[in-house]
Amino acid sequence: MQREKFLVVNSHFQLQYEEKQSCYVLLYPEGMVQLSFSAGEIMSLCDGKNSCDSIITALVEKFSNQAIESDVIEFLDEAMSRNWIIYHEAR
């Protein structure tokens, strides 16, 4: 994970909050992943204007919890390996 690079959801996926399911979902051809609360919070910040570092900063502030850094990095690594997110400049 290059921590200073901007991150964005892969345009072949679609991320949105679903009222009926009370969570963020990630849509792909003929399928859907329901994201956990923390995964949804992280993914929704992958908007092309945030990097790994700025997402950590934002979430530490939002939840007043310093201990989330490694969880965020672990999730973003996983999301990138699944092609859910990409570096913004790579587009």
Partner: protein, 377 residues
């Protein structure tokens, strides 16, 4: 009628069949033999309302299909509306039937994914299967345009005796075209495919070889994800059809008839029309959508089977087509008293030299006329 032991969850996947017209005449089409009777009577506003109602219930995936959806003049507006409603939009197309300039317009309208049907890696076989001489080059141009315009490309290849020997070439071609996924689907035998089964069904040996070639690709390369759908005629347990009747999936046909699966109106049930009822009323309250929910409809061997939660007794359309009783176990299951119907079809097809019937309006009208003549006797 409400099911006794199952809560109704909202549909997640909506399939709009915009028309049953198609420039191709594929012999394996699952559309009904009497499709010539289906009228395209849904207006653009009817489709908009269906999408709005389904979305409000929580549906997220939208398939736009046919027949050939490119033939519907409102296609771009329907895609745009679907995108505004935040559906994930899939266009399921032959790539034939519209000027290639439609591709960038589809992208601009918000289309996410194109599922392009490709029959073969060569022109001759494509023409043989589709009865359309332009099909191959139109499909190649369509695939190229999808990639150039940044659309996600899924290639769907339906496998029959006519193309099963080409699997390796088809995988390589899909890769060259830049497909994100390739779905190699051994066809399921409904509609025209069931009519033509003796000309289409591959042998068990051909199937094993095709599977081995696919696995070899998967083990050695990872550029493209390849799915392989096994034909259920060679299985001993049925598929969990549609993830259960009225559980996930809703099709609207070109006349506005709402169906729990694409072929359900082959069954002797009264399916409601979206021009008369809301999607919510159809999904939750109609007799047809509740008919096979839960398991109180089941007969033996399903009723006491410990796998009934896994496959829901299999496919109702297949049970009806092969046993004439839609409450029977799917005869693909070797616990079914009708399993021999499937095995004898497999046997019979091996030695048959039957020529397939093309799926077109004239053949459809002849089939309808023959049925009428039979019923008048």
């Amino acid at each position: 009628m409400k099911p006794d032991n199952k809560t109704i969850s909202p549909p997640l996947w909506i399939l709009l069949e915009l028309t049953h017209k198609c420039p191709l005449e594929c012999t394996y089409c699952y559309n009904q033999l009497d499709f010539a009777n289906t009228k395209d009577s849904m207006t653009k506003d009817d489709w908009f309302r269906v999408m709005e109602e389904a979305r409000a219930m929580g549906a997220v995936q939208l398939g736009i299909s046919g027949g050939e959806p490119l033939l519907n003049k409102d296609l771009l507006e329907i895609v745009k509306k679907a995108n505004e409603l935040k559906f994930y939009t899939n266009l399921i197309t032959s790539g034939v039937g519209a000027d290639i300039s439609i591709v960038p317009k589809l992208k601009e309208a918000g289309l996410k994914t194109v599922q392009l049907g490709i029959q073969s890696s060569d022109e001759h076989t494509t023409t043989l299967i589709t009865n359309n001489q332009n099909a191959f080059k139109d499909k190649m141009a369509f695939a190229k345009a999808c990639k150039e315009n940044g659309l996600q490309l899924i290639i769907n290849t339906c496998i029959t005796r006519q193309n099963i020997h080409q699997i390796g070439d088809i995988i390589e071609m899909a890769e060259r075209l830049g497909a994100n996924y390739l779905e190699i689907a051994n066809i399921q035998y409904y509609g025209w495919a069931l009519e033509n089964i003796n000309a289409l069904l591959p042998t068990r040996e051909q199937l094993a070889e095709a599977k081995a070639i696919t696995n070899h690709y998967r083990e050695n390369r990872k550029d493209m994800k390849v799915f392989f759908v096994v034909p259920d005629y060679f299985a001993t347990r049925p598929k969990a059809c549609m993830n259960g009747w009225g559980s996930t999936f809703l099709t609207i046909n070109p006349s506005g008839v709402a169906l729990p699966c694409n072929t359900a109106n082959t069954l002797p049930l009264n399916f409601p029309n979206v021009k008369e009822y809301s999607v919510e009323a159809i999904w939750n309250d109609s007799e047809a959508f509740n008919y096979f929910r839960g398991d109180s409809w089941m007969k033996e061997p399903c009723r006491t089977c410990n796998e009934k939660e896994k496959d829901f007794g299999g496919c109702r359309c297949q049970a009806y087509a092969l046993t004439k009783d839609m409450h029977e176990a799917d005869p693909v299951c070797d616990k079914s008293g009708f399993h021999h119907v499937v095995t004898s079809k497999v046997e019979e097809s091996i030695t048959s030299d039957k020529q397939p019937l093309y799926r077109n309006k004239i053949n459809s009208m002849n089939i309808i006329a023959n049925r009428l003549a039979r019923s008048c006797k």
